[in-house]
């Protein structure tokens, strides 16, 4: 099978085509990550941990040592691995539920400790794999499976902004979007470079979820552009 | 085999003297097992210590009746009266008896330690003092006056 030259070398061919929904943001984020790993030449050093939720589908995405963990426990597993083998580039890859709800204390504490791992959070503002329920990043009035009347309960959690209040000054925090993948790619590269300098790095990627947003292609793009009003992109 | 139960309030130094006694027995090549028993509060509350010393191996740290029962605070009696047997020797600390031999409060637990050892003829004075000095080495270094007072108490 002839491989498109744009696919990263660290892809695992046997697991393709991938299992993400059509239009999902994950494959874009992962492709950018793969390209960064290729270009930095660090494939023999990268270890990837993925959460439960749609991120779990990345377990065999790459030809890189990867493990799924329990929901919300990706970050502490990454921390343990990095402590044992500091030479590796350890990446924790999770969704907004794993990072900001069930695993929030790990996200916060790891940042507080400036643990030298790289956390990538794919934020689609809801719990996709379980059918689209409320998440800490659900925006006001958003309709989800558990807020059928529109969310009004609590403030929307903005991860990088929150982390910046407790992060080390050398830590790297950024938010990109799958709508601008090449910009996101730059953030991912910086995030890995910062790990090499032994500091904490965090990149949130605003991401498409047409399946749970129940949007067609055009509305999906409109939706994510709208979300950028709540979730500012850039470096923090 | 000799079974010693020490009771007092948290902060009175019950555990320290229990540990010293057990360590002294170890120095004397005897077998000893010591276990503390207390609740969650750092101060106040009841503090119990069980010490068993024997020539052969001690495997279970608690017992039904004490051979020697030392009580450092009146309020602790309630918790330990069931450990009184027909032959139990009872020692009450200066907080109850008022007999402090002119020594300050912070040494009263050591006074009781001395009395326990005398009552049970458990270990030699030499090993008791060595265990005391080893256990409180840190405190004695910071506070040489305390060392003087504690040695006075253990030699009463």
């Amino acid at each position: 099978m002839k491989q498109s030259p744009k696919f990263p070398k660290c892809y695992k061919i046997e697991s393709k085509p991938h299992k993400f929904c059509p239009g999902c943001g994950h494959p874009l984020v992962l492709k950018m990550l793969g390209q960064v790993i290729d270009e930095m030449g660090i494939a023999d050093k990268v270890v990837l941990m993925v959460d439960i939720g749609c991120s779990l589908l990345a377990w065999d995405f790459f030809d890189l040592p990867t493990t799924q963990t329990h929901h919300g426990r990706t970050v502490p597993t990454a921390v343990g691995f990095k402590m044992a083998d500091p030479e590796k580039m350890v990446i924790a890859y999770l969704g907004d539920g794993g990072a900001y709800a069930i695993g929030l204390q790990h996200t916060l504490t790891t940042c507080l400790r400036n643990d030298p791992i790289t956390t990538i959070v794919v934020n689609n503002t809801l719990y996709a794999m379980t059918g689209g329920q409320l998440a800490p990043t659900t925006v006001d009035n958003e309709i989800t499976a558990t807020t059928p009347g529109g969310k009004t309960e609590f403030t929307t959690l903005r991860g990088p902004e929150l982390l910046r209040t407790i992060a080390h000054k050398e830590a790297y925090l950024a938010r990109g979007t799958t709508n601008k993948p090449l910009v996101l790619k730059q953030y991912l590269q910086k995030a890995l470079e910062v790990q090499m300098k032994k500091n904490y790095a965090f990149v949130e990627a605003l991401s498409f979820c047409p399946t749970n947003w129940k949007t067609n292609a055009q509305k999906t793009i409109e939706r994510i552009q709208d979300l950028e009003k709540t979730f500012k992109t850039g470096e923090f | 085999m000799i079974k010693v139960l020490i009771a007092g309030e948290g902060g009175q130094g019950v555990q320290v003297i229990a540990e010293i006694l057990a360590r002294a027995a170890f120095l004397e090549n005897k077998k000893a097992l010591y276990i503390p028993n207390f609740g969650v509060e750092q101060r106040g509350g009841v503090s119990l210590a069980f010490v068993i010393i024997d020539d052969k191996s001690v495997v279970y740290p608690k017992f039904a009746k004490a051979d020697i029962l030392a009580v450092l605070a009146d309020r602790s009696w309630e918790r330990v009266k069931n450990y009184l047997g027909e032959k139990t020797k009872v020692i009450e600390g200066p907080a109850i008896t008022g007999q402090d031999k002119g020594l300050p409060v912070k040494t009263w637990n050591i006074l009781v330690l001395r009395q326990i050892n005398q009552a049970g003829q458990i270990v030699s004075q030499k090993n008791l003092i060595q265990a005391l000095e080893e256990r409180l080495a840190g405190q004695f270094k910071k506070n040489p006056e305390l060392k003087e007072l504690d040695l006075k108490a253990v030699n009463q």
């Binding site: 695992k12 023999d44 270890v47 941990m49 439960i52 779990l56 377990w59 065999d60 790459f62 030809d63 890189l64 040592p65 990867t66 493990t67 799924q68 963990t69 329990h70 919300g72 426990r73 502490p76 597993t77 990454a78 921390v79 343990g80 691995f81 990095k82 402590m83 044992a84 083998d85 590796k88 204390q105 790990h106 916060l108 504490t109 | 540990e19 057990a22 360590r23 170890f26 077998k31 000893a32 097992l33 010591y34 276990i35 503390p36 028993n37 609740g39 969650v40 001690v58 495997v59 279970y60 740290p61 608690k62 017992f63 039904a64 009746k65």
Partner: protein
């Protein structure tokens, strides 16, 4: 070399001597001294590391992370911490991670006391949403805290089941003599688990996929159990009454057995040392000849349950003496056993 140490310090020393390099933990009585002692070790020995985590889940998954990198790590907890630790423990079962945990049982039911019970047997053996593919050593004295911790690391890395030293607050806090070993055995298969070409998952799609995997694990567990099972047979030969106890209760039972034998009672003790895998074969052989079996534990039937599950069909009269969260002195055991044995005092 003989030393005078607290149980928890012995556990930390044993982990170090076993080859552990990292401890992850969250302070919880009565296990906290293990973490504190390890912290002191780290000051002197720069090859050792410690992480006090934000909770027990982070501690457990930290251990998993380290084991995945091929570096032996461990944790210690108790009570409510045991419950939180199950999150990591069951993933260790699923992914065959040699995670070692020291479980210092404290009072049962919720926060309870910080002191003692034997009420975490069920949780430690079967606390995951799984079939309990674990190795659980129930220690009964200070020397065993040391010896079985060394063994726990050996067996964990050899057989790849999460392995436990199941003790309690009494053993953790008591101080006495222990023989610290000078010889250090290297661990088997000490190499990274998560390497190139390895993609691990614990989430499956269809019933058939996971059903087969669990069945495979079970086959392996059953086939290797005889290499792992351990028990102690104390005076059971010709005994008409056999007492069944584990952990520190077994230590008190032994003293009672000696006293009762002196008074002419035909009595012995069968003590499982591994609660998982339970020493079933040995138990069947030894207990078959008894007229009465009396189970004695500081819980309500948790040991008895393990026993009944493994020895279903045994016709012997079974009596259970349950004292949840309370210890047994040898005198009490003597009294209770006499009552049930209809013997003279």
């Amino acid at each position: 070399m003989k030393q005078f140490l607290m149980g928890n310090k012995i556990l930390a020393q044993a982990a170090k001597d076993a080859g552990a390099k990292i401890m992850f933990g969250y302070p919880i009585t009565p296990s906290t001294e293990i973490l504190e002692t390890w912290a002191k070790f780290c000051l002197k020995d720069k090859s050792l590391k410690i992480l006090q985590t934000e909770d027990e889940m982070a501690a457990g998954f930290g251990v998993i992370g380290s084991c995945l990198a091929g570096v032996p790590a461990f944790t210690a907890t108790a009570g409510p911490g045991n419950i939180l630790m199950q999150d990591a423990l069951v993933m260790a079962e699923a992914l065959r991670i040699p995670m070692v945990t020291m479980m210092m049982q404290r009072g049962g039911m919720s926060t309870s006391t910080v002191i003692y019970s034997q009420e975490e047997v069920r949780l430690t053996c079967f606390g995951g949403n799984s079939e309990g593919f674990r190795i659980v050593y129930s220690t009964s004295n200070l020397q065993e805290l040391y010896d079985y911790t060394l063994k726990a690391f050996q067996m964990a890395w050899k057989y790849r089941w999460p392995t436990f030293v199941l003790a309690d607050g009494y053993q953790g806090k008591m101080m006495g003599e222990v023989e610290i070993s000078n010889s250090k055995l290297p661990l088997t298969n000490l190499k990274p688990i998560l390497t190139k070409g390895v993609n691990l998952r614990n989430c499956y799609n269809l019933e058939e996929e996971i059903g087969e995997k669990i069945a495979d694990y079970n086959d392996e567990y059953q086939q290797t159990r005889s290499e792992i099972e351990e028990y102690e047979d104390y005076q059971t030969k010709d005994a008409k009454i056999i007492l069944l106890a584990h952990g520190i209760v077994a230590a008190a039972v032994k003293i009672a057995v000696d006293k009762l034998r002196k008074r002419g009672l035909s009595i012995g003790l069968f003590r499982p040392i591994t609660l998982r895998p339970f020493p079933t074969q040995a138990a069947v052989k030894i207990l078959d000849k008894a007229e009465k079996i009396i189970v004695i534990e500081s819980a309500i039937g948790q040991l008895a349950e393990l026993f009944k599950a493994e020895l279903f069909g045994l016709n012997t009269t079974l009596i259970e003496i349950n004292k949840p969260a309370l210890g047994f002195t040898p005198e009490e055991i003597d009294k209770q056993v006499c009552f049930f044995a209809d013997a003279q005092k």
